[in-house]
């Protein structure tokens, strides 16, 4: 008798059972309970137990596309479907969450109801990109679920060489450090570029992450191709009365040791015994002092965002952090938002045209150089974009080499042809 015919309780999972003890909430206990109403979940645990025993994975992956969409469903097929037929097809549907992962219980319950009806009733809040992940549909129920979800106003998330679902920090919704409407921008970008999110047309994935300040709670510099991070122009706001209170409460030595000497540009000095002075021209808006003395110090009043580009995790050239391309950009009005969107379009156009297959924008910049990239998207080079000027003396000065010997006009921006790169690699 195959495991499938047995009641879910009779699928033995002694290794997983070891994860039902301990103080941290156990997903194993929860899924075991769920298996009483959803037998496929019992089989899922059965397969997972086999993985624990063999230290081997039993899922194969492909894609499955809902009409009009080129992504959003992660299709999985079990290699143990003889033993576990109910999870022979066991797919994940990615759903775009409300920006900042805020929910009314009404909308969460709606997701639960739809997913209990069509899927295995397992949800992950949230995936690494930030999508709502709904686990456990087959090649038929995936479409029923997607239809009902979309009818209710939800939408599929991104996958493959497409814009991925943008994510943001809580920002204006309850954080006093926030320098712009992170949720608003996130919704704006998602909606404006929803076509690029649903129908892959890029060399590879493109992620936005949006943080309201340099604390970067969305981990945007390391985790996204285009971080949008709140900052301000002009002086930070200082409430000297609160500064005095803080010094009185913690002592001047605490302020010296934990605020003044920790400022990366030494922009803060103690003034007398009750006040501090900030050299605002030299403050790099790192947020450290504001974090420590958050009642006394606040970001300045003229707020906006810094835009960086090119971050990604390690495959293939190693990790890259995003780097500065726009030091300051106001993000107050709808027009400001449109300008940001227009910049995005320029980047996509240049990278889309010249990027190689599977080349993230950070890898592309590494290959062609930031200066060429800037020329391609129409931005001027600025000293804020580098830690220091170059040290390598071999430079192609275009202005100093007019009238090239061959006579043909120099192509700008100068990017090595995709075909040539691919060919050389294959060699």
């Amino acid at each position: 008798m195959s495991d499938a015919k047995k009641k879910p309780e009779s699928i033995k999972t002694p290794l997983l059972d070891e994860l039902t003890t301990g103080q941290w909430p156990s997903f194993v206990s929860d899924l075991k309970n769920l298996s009483h109403t959803k037998p496929q979940v019992g089989q899922l645990l059965g397969q997972l137990e086999q993985s624990y025993e063999d230290r081997w994975n039993y899922w194969q992956g492909t894609v499955l596309n809902v009409d009009g969409y080129g992504g959003g469903v992660i299709a999985r097929y079990s290699e143990l479907s003889e033993r576990f037929p109910d999870i022979a097809q066991f797919h994940t549907v990615r759903i775009i969450p409300p920006p900042g992962w805020v929910y009314s219980t009404k909308s969460l319950r709606q997701l639960c109801d739809i997913w209990e009806k069509h899927g295995a009733g397992i949800m992950q809040l949230h995936g690494m990109t930030g999508d709502i992940l709904l686990l456990g549909t087959d090649n038929v129920t995936t479409f029923d679920a997607a239809e009902e979800l979309m009818e209710a106003g939800w939408d599929l998330g991104g996958s493959g060489g497409a814009l991925r679902t943008p994510a943001c920090c809580v920002g204006d919704a309850y954080c006093e450090s926030s320098c712009f409407d992170t949720m608003g921008i996130t919704k704006y970008l998602t909606d404006r570029f929803i076509s690029q999110l649903h129908r892959p047309e890029f060399p590879y994935k493109y992620k936005f992450k949006v943080s309201g300040c340099a604390n970067d709670c969305a981990c945007s510099i390391q985790r996204s191709d285009m971080p949008i991070i709140g900052t301000w122009k002009g002086p930070m706001q200082i409430d000297q009365k609160e500064v005095g209170k803080f010094i009185k409460e913690h002592g001047a030595d605490y302020v010296v040791n934990n605020v003044i000497t920790r400022c990366p540009t030494q922009a803060i000095t103690l003034k007398g015994s009750k006040e501090i002075k900030v050299d605002n021209d030299n403050c790099v808006r790192c947020m450290h002092c504001i974090n420590v003395m958050h009642k006394a110090l606040r970001p300045g009043k003229q707020r906006g965002a810094t835009i960086l580009v090119g971050g990604k995790r390690t495959l293939k050239i190693g990790d890259t952090m995003s780097s500065m391309i726009v030091p300051f950009m106001p993000l107050e009005t709808e027009e400001d938002w449109e300008k940001l969107g227009d910049l995005v379009e320029k980047i996509w156009e240049f990278w889309g045209e010249n990027g190689m297959e599977h080349e993230r924008v950070g890898e592309f910049i590494e290959r062609v150089g930031l200066a060429t990239f800037l020329e391609g998207i129409g931005l001027k080079p600025l000293p804020e974009m580098v830690i220091h000027p170059r040290t390598n003396p071999y430079i192609k000065f275009e202005e100093l080499a007019p009238g090239r010997m061959g006579g043909e006009p120099h192509k700008r921006p100068s990017v090595v042809d995709k075909e040539i790169e691919t060919f050389e690699k294959a060699e």
């Binding site: 909308s107 969460l108 809040l125 945007s220 294959a426």
Partner: protein
């Protein structure tokens, strides 16, 4: 239609749900007008708006993978104490939003009793561990994700519920060398030890130029096997990254017998102080010991305790090690420094000590 207006034709492209329809009334009213916060206890922040309104944010750790039953229980609690609104953080914590101070205690009780979720994860604590799908639902993993997180968080529980570290400590796990778990103060990653095994039959369905092109060290080249086109790997060039495996399942990089885990430390995302940093190799060669990975737990705890003892206030793990030097780090923790700790990939030279600075 609780999330937003619905478009009628396929593809409907509904877009992102409207956050305004999902915001707690106090968040909507005071949007962009928050003044300061106070820490009530680990896991509970009192947020004060310019209007004088007060919102208590109670953070609880979730297992991330949850049944609809558990999510409905979360909703029940939010309906009772939070006017039906809640939030999730990027690290899979649930945040209950409470407008009424007297509801905070009973809410915490309900969260702990009815859900079994611990309240904590704020400030100088160890927050919930970022993780991916692992054996539960990925096609590439060499280890599990949710299970190793459960095992680790059991070990680190007391640092989730109490802020007892110099600063916040973020942990991530990744179950293959693509490392979806990302940068963190401490990251646990799978390490492969052989070039991919090419399945000459299966590799026929893959697009060969794409597989060749994806290799970062140009180790893959076309060949023929039994008269049919196949691929081969130059073992001396291959660095066992598994990029080709993601592109083509017939380039099998995993090996249940030999795959190990390594621990990387000192990643930081925030631009605070010296700015963001990448993590560096600390410990390698730990066994992939399901279901509880005790060797990994021990090594992580050794690092956490050393940081607890040596770190200055507000110093992140990587900043602490940078201040005391890596030599001291290896001395304190007792982990060996080996030739594998010396980088040999891109930018390797930038990681060498080109000064006379030593701690003698």
């Amino acid at each position: 239609m609780s999330v937003q207006e619905v478009k009628k034709k396929a593809p409907r492209d509904n877009g992102a749900p409207d956050h305004k329809l999902n915001l707690h009334p106090l968040m909507l009213k005071n949007y962009g007008k928050w003044k300061y916060y106070e820490k009530v206890r680990t896991g509970v922040l009192k947020r004060v708006a310019e209007s004088g309104d007060v919102l208590y944010v109670v953070r609880a750790g979730s297992p991330r993978t949850m049944s609809v039953n558990v999510i409905r229980k979360i909703c029940d609690i939010a309906d009772k104490y939070c006017q039906g609104f809640l939030r999730f953080t990027s690290r899979a914590n649930v945040e209950f939003l409470v407008g009424n101070e007297k509801d905070v205690k009973p809410l915490i009780k309900a969260v702990e009793k009815e859900l079994g979720f611990p309240v904590g994860g704020t400030g100088a604590s160890i927050s919930n561990i970022l993780h991916t799908q692992g054996w539960l639902h990925c096609n590439l993993p060499g280890t599990d994700a949710a299970g190793s997180v459960k095992a680790l968080m059991d070990e680190l529980y007391k640092d989730f519920v109490k802020e007892k570290l110099p600063n916040r400590l973020k942990i991530s796990t990744s179950c293959c060398s693509i490392n979806c778990g990302g940068q963190a103060d401490i990251a646990i990653n799978v390490q492969h030890h052989h070039p991919p095994r090419v399945d000459d039959k299966g590799v026929g369905v893959c697009e060969h130029p794409k597989v060749v092109a994806i290799c970062p060290v140009a180790a893959i080249r076309p060949t023929t096997a039994d008269g049919r086109p196949s691929l081969e790997v130059v073992p001396e060039k291959c660095m066992y990254c598994g990029a080709c495996h993601g592109q083509c399942p017939s380039m099998e990089i995993r090996d249940a017998k030999t795959d190990t885990l390594s621990i990387w430390i000192g990643g930081k995302a925030a631009s605070t102080r010296k700015g963001p940093s990448f993590m560096k190799l600390a410990v390698w060669g730990l066994p992939n010991n399901a279901p509880r990975w005790p060797e990994v737990g021990e090594a992580v705890k050794t690092i956490v305790e050393a940081y607890r003892k040596g770190g200055k206030p507000y110093e992140r793990l990587g900043e602490w090690v940078e201040r005391i030097g890596w030599k001291r780090f290896f001395e304190i923790t007792g982990f060996p420094f080996t030739k594998y700790h010396i980088d040999d990939f891109k930018n390797a030279r930038a990681t060498l000590n080109t000064s006379t600075h030593v701690r003698l």
